[in-house]
Amino acid sequence: MEKINSQEHLVIIGNGIAGVTLAQRVRQGSDCRITMVSAESPLHFSRTALMYVYMGHMRFQDIVPYADWYWQEQQIELVHDFVERVDTSDKKLVLRDGAPLPYDKLVLATGSSAAYYDWPGQALKGVQGLVSLQDLEMMETNTAGIAQAVIVGGGLIGVEMAEMLRSRGIVVTMLIRDKLYWHNVLPQQEAQLVTDHIRQHGIELLLQEELQEILADDAGRVRGIRTRAGKELSCQFVGITTGVKPNVDFLKGSGIDIDRGILVNEFFETNQPNVYALSDCTQFRNPAPGQPMMEQLWYTGRLHAEALASTLLGNRKAYQRGPWFNSAKFFDIEYQTYGTVPAQFTEQQESLYWQNKEATKAIRFLYEKGTDKLLGINLLGIRYRHDLCHHWLQQGYTLHAALQELPAVNFDPEFFQRYEEELLHQYYTRFPDRQPPVKHSNWWELRKRFGLFSDSTSC
C-alpha cells in the first residue's frame, strides 16, 4: 500500500488508547491532516484510571495524559461530537452537531461498552457497567448514599468496581460463575490466592452463582437481585461486568461488514476501501491459530494502532501480536503475565510454582514436558522485567536457559526480599542432574548482550 500523502485527510473515530496511538504514530511519519472525533470526551484520558478518580486518588484532569498544547503542537485536530453515521460512498461522516466531515482514510476505533445478557430488570435505575467516562459519572449518582451493591461477573472490571465501592464503605457481593475468581484465566492456585485476598478485603464472593433477575422497587430503582440458585440479595446498585461488546450500532447501513465486531483482516482493513478498524470494536476474520477473534485490552489497542500506523505509512505489515503480556492489580496484589499460562494445563504442560507462606506472592513458570520449552510466566505480588521475559519467549528459551538468567529478571524495588532462590531450589530438586549456572547474570549485561533497548530515533 502507498504511504498516506500529505494532502490526504485521516479521520479517526475514537480517542481511546488505540485512536490516540494511531494519530501519534502516523503524525511521526507524515504531514497529512489528522482529525480525531470523540463524543465521550474532548481530550484523551486513561480509561483504566477511571477507578482512581472515583476513589479520590486523582481528579479527572490528572488522568489526561496529554494536555491541550500537545495536540496543537502535533497538529492533530480534535472534534468533540457524536458520529451519527458513516457515508462510505461520499467518504464523509455525518455529525450530530457539526458540519459533515469528509475523509480520505477513515479509522474506526470506537471501543466497546458493557455487555448485557437479557436479564429481567437490566434497564432499571442503578444497573450499569463501567467502561466510559459517562459510566463513571453515572456511577457517582447511582452509588450516592447507598449501602449495598452486587457485582455480576468475576473479571478485572468486576474487582475494580468492588474496590471502588469498598472505598466508600458500601457492602459488596460479587456473583462469580466459576469455582474461583477469574478462574477462566488463572490456574487453580493463583485463582485461590486472589480469591482469598479479595475476601480478606471485605468483599463477599458468591461462587458458582449467576444472575437470574434484577428486582425493582416502586420508583423503578434496583432493590435487589435473585440468583440462579434462588437466593435473594438486597442491594441498591448492580454492576454488570460480564465482558464488553463492540460499539458498532451507528455503522448499520454503512456497508461496512459487521458480525459481533467490525470485520477486519490482519491489516485492519474492512471490506470498504480506505476504511480501517482496530482494537475493541473489531473482530478478526481469520485470527492467527491460537489467538482470539477479539482483543479488548489497553495493550492490544496500542499494538493494533502501531501495526496499522506502519501500514498507513507505506510499510504494509500484518499484525503480529508477539508474546502475550498483561497486568492488573487486585487490591494490594499486582499481577503480571507473560506468554501463555492457561487456566487448565494439557498433558504436555508442567509448571514450577512457588508461593509464600502468607499467600500474597506467587511465581509460576509453565513449560512443555520433553522439549523443556518455556511457555509462560504468571506473577502475583512480584514484578519481572518485561523486556527480558519477552526476549525469553520470543527466542524460544527452554526453562533451563531462562532460569540461568533468573537473577536478572526481578523488577521489584530495591531492598525488597527476593524469592528467586526458592524457585531455583525447587527446580534443582526436580531436576537434580541439571547444573546450576556458572556465573551470576546481571540485567545490564544481558540488556547489552541481547540489545534489549532502543532509542527514540531507531524506533
Partner: protein
Amino acid sequence: MQTAVISETASTTSNTSQNVLKMVSLLLISIGLLGILVAAVGANYISPVLTGLGGTLVLTIGALLYIWQSRWYKSPAEQNHGRWQQEATSRGPSAWVIGFVLTGFYVLLYWFPDTLQGLIQATEPLSQWLRGRPSDQWFLYGTFYTLAILVMGVYALLKYRNSRYHIIRTISVMFFQLGFAFLLPGLLLMLNKPEYYFSYFWPLKYDYLFPGTIDYLVRDGAALGVFMVFWGAIFSFLATPVLTYFYGKRWYCSWVCGCGGLAETAGDPYRHLSDKSRKAWRWEVAIIYPILGFVILTTLFLWINSWSEGRLLGDLSGGFASTYGFFIGAMFSGVVGVGFYPLMGNRVWCRFGCPMAAYLGLLQKHFSRFRISTNGGQCISCGNCSTYCEMGIDVRWYAQQGEPIIRASCVGCGICAHVCPRGVLKLENGPREDRYAGSPLIKRDELRILS
C-alpha cells in the same frame, strides 16, 4: 462463607475500639494544643514549662495515637483513598487555615521572635539539659521541627509499611534529623564547641564555606573546628559528586536532608498538590539555577573580599550575603517552603529554591548512574506516578513511552514506583552507557516537553 462471617465480627470489634482510640487521641491533641496556647500567652500566670512542654508531650502522644488508629486498620491499598476528595488535602478551608498559621509562625519566628517568649521559655529545661544553655527561638524551632519529622515519620512508616524501601528511607530521614540536626549540634554547644550541622553542606548551608564561618570554626573549635571545615568542604566538593554518581540525588534529598525529611513525613499528605504543568517546569528552571549562581557568586565575592581585606569590593559582598540570607534563606525556604505545604505541595523550596538541589540535579542529570526504569510496554497512562510526584515531574510522560526518567529535579523518593498499579517503575543505578535508551517494546514520540 465461614471467612466472611469471621472477618465481619472482627471488623465490628475493631471498629468500636478504633472509635474509642480516635476520641481519646483527639482529646489529647486538643489538650496539648490548649497547653501550648496557654504557654504562648499566659506565661505570667502559670509556668510555661508545665503547659508548653507538657502540652507538647500530650500533643505528641495524642497525634501518635491518632495516626496509629487511622492507619493500622487500613489496608495499604487504601493509602491514597479520598486524597483529592477530603478538603484538608485538596486546598479546602482547613488547608488554607493551616497554610496561614504555618506561614504566620515563620514570620513571627524570623522577624518577631519576642512574641514567642512564652514558648521559648517552655523549652528552657530541654535546652539546658541538651545544650547547657538558655533556650532561644531557634531551639524552639528545632524542637518542633524534629518532633514533626518524628511523629509524621511514624505516619509514613505505617502508611508505606508494605514497602521495605520506604520503611528504610523513612527511618533514615528520622535518624538524620534527630541525631545530626538536633542532638549532635546541641551536644556540641554543651561541650562549648561551635554549633555545627554535619548533615548540611554548602550550597544549601551557604555560609558554611563563607570566610567568616571558617574563621570562626577554626578559632573557636580548634582541632574539631578544622575537622568541621574539612568535613564541609569534602562533602560539598568530593562526597556529593561521588555519592550522586553512584546513587543519584536521592542519597541526600530523600535520605539525609532535613528539608527533605520534613517533606517526606509531615509533607506527605500534600505531595499531590505540586503543579505538573509545563509552565511550572519553566518557572522551576528559571528560578533554581539563578539561585545556585547567586550563592556561588556570593561565596566568591566574600572570598575575594577576605583576601583583598575589603579593598577590592568594599561592602558589596556583605550586601550580597545578607540579601541572600533574607530573601532565600528566610523568605523562601521557611515562609513559602513550609508555610505553603497545604497549598502548593511539600517540595516548593526543594523544587524552586534549593541551591543544593540545583547542584545535585546537574550532577544527577549529567554525571550519574541513577535512573527510574520503565518496565517495557506495561504503562497504562493512569497518572498516579505524575500525581504523587512531589517535584511536579510528569513521570507518566516518559513511562507511557517506555523511556527511563532522568530528570535533574527528581529527588528519588520512590513514591511513583510505589503508587504505580502495574509496577512499571523502578529506581535503579546502572551503567551510564545507553542510560537514556527506552524499551524496544513500545514506539514513542520524538517530541520533548522541555529542552
